[in-house]
Symmetry: C2
Subunit: 228 residues, 2 copies
């Protein structure tokens, strides 16, 4: 398998966590989607990361479709499923995947990564340049209510969507992790959210993400620290 | 079941088509999401249409999660499934659901409905007012390549994602239908796309959508005509 990804794309990170939790080996191929590389667009006309290629000819675009693909490989009796069994619980996991992949991404992780990382690697004609301070200010305000929401979810159950670890925890942690790298998570705002994140972060599947670095932007002090 | 929807929200229309194809009766409750009605936000904190409530206490937000919910109600041996069986075919249907719900919506159906319908019902503080002609011009340029893409997909197979009608056809037709209502589909650009749409449109499940009207914006001449 090959994963076309970016190291600080939260949707790509969600897929790396899924693969690692399942013990699946994958070759990582870094993309700069804004360069619209032809081979990449053939794999996914939408031109977005991540894309997972499986065997010959199957290219699975997007973290939600990749998550559904692996869920359907499992037989219900298999252990280590990242989706619960019941219809109501499955709706809740999917709701949270959408919440983080769309809402948290639009309001927090998307602008943080675009302004503080991607723009430094983009040519001016692709949108590169200095960060937009208004976008950063909005993201910093938005993350505060998201952290409280995560704390509220984690207080209801052991994990975000129920009593077991699920895709909901992986997607939330993937998006939070890029904000954490950039030192943008107000951890002291919510102890419950912090405790939940410490539990996800200490899983072996998380370790490769904690080793990621981007040139010119050092990781925050909390990023790779399991007892932050 | 109750569907919280808007008549010209393409995501809501996709769900109405799913329910009608399955022969499921539903009570329609119209929402104006921008008014952020409290009961509506309790059902879905994202505050977007559609939301389907099923029995007591289960609120399913978003057309993709609603589609997945019904798919999982089916046993594989059941007829009238709107998802194919094989993993590769399922990836393709999901890819197209995402393509229309995200990309076509961002580039075409979203701006057309926002500018030509929703803004007329919004108070100025919610963004109401005159249509943005730049947004309309962009949507009119974008729909031309989407129509060619639909024609290309329909030429490969009988239906957009394969030899059988699937969610892919319903989602594409739902998004196209709002553009068609507004007279914004260049049908003469692609005969194959037009033939495919005529086939979807003539299904009994489509009939209720063809009766929808919005005050002050009459339907285009092609909208309710099965031989347009």
């Amino acid at each position: 398998m090959q994963l076309h990804h970016r190291f600080f794309c939260p949707h790509s990170r969600f897929v790396r966590l899924i693969l690692a939790e399942r013990g699946v080996e994958v070759e990582l191929i870094e993309e700069r989607p804004w360069e619209r590389r032809e081979e990449f667009l053939r794999l996914n006309p939408e031109g977005t990361t991540p894309i997972l290629t499986v065997g010959s000819g199957l290219a699975i675009p997007g973290s939600e479709i990749i998550a559904a693909y692996f869920d359907e490989l499992d037989r219900p009796e298999t252990d280590r499923r990242l989706m619960p069994q019941g219809a109501i619980a499955r709706v809740e996991v999917r709701r949270l995947i959408h919440w983080f992949n769309v809402k948290f991404f639009e309001e927090v992780s998307g602008p943080l990564v675009a302004e503080k990382i991607d723009k430094r690697f983009m040519a001016p004609e692709h949108g590169g340049g200095a960060p937009d301070t208004n976008a950063l200010r909005a993201a910093r305000a938005n993350i505060r209510y998201h952290i409280r929401y995560i704390g509220w979810l984690a207080a209801r159950n052991d994990w975000l969507a129920g009593p077991e670890l699920s895709y909901a925890d992986l997607v939330a942690a993937a998006h939070l992790s890029v904000a954490d790298y950039l030192g943008e998570v107000p951890w002291n705002d919510d102890e419950t959210a912090k405790d939940w994140y410490a539990r996800v972060k200490s899983r072996p599947a998380f370790r490769p993400l904690l080793a990621d670095r981007v040139v010119g932007t050092p990781a925050s002090a909390t990023y790779a620290d399991l007892d932050f």
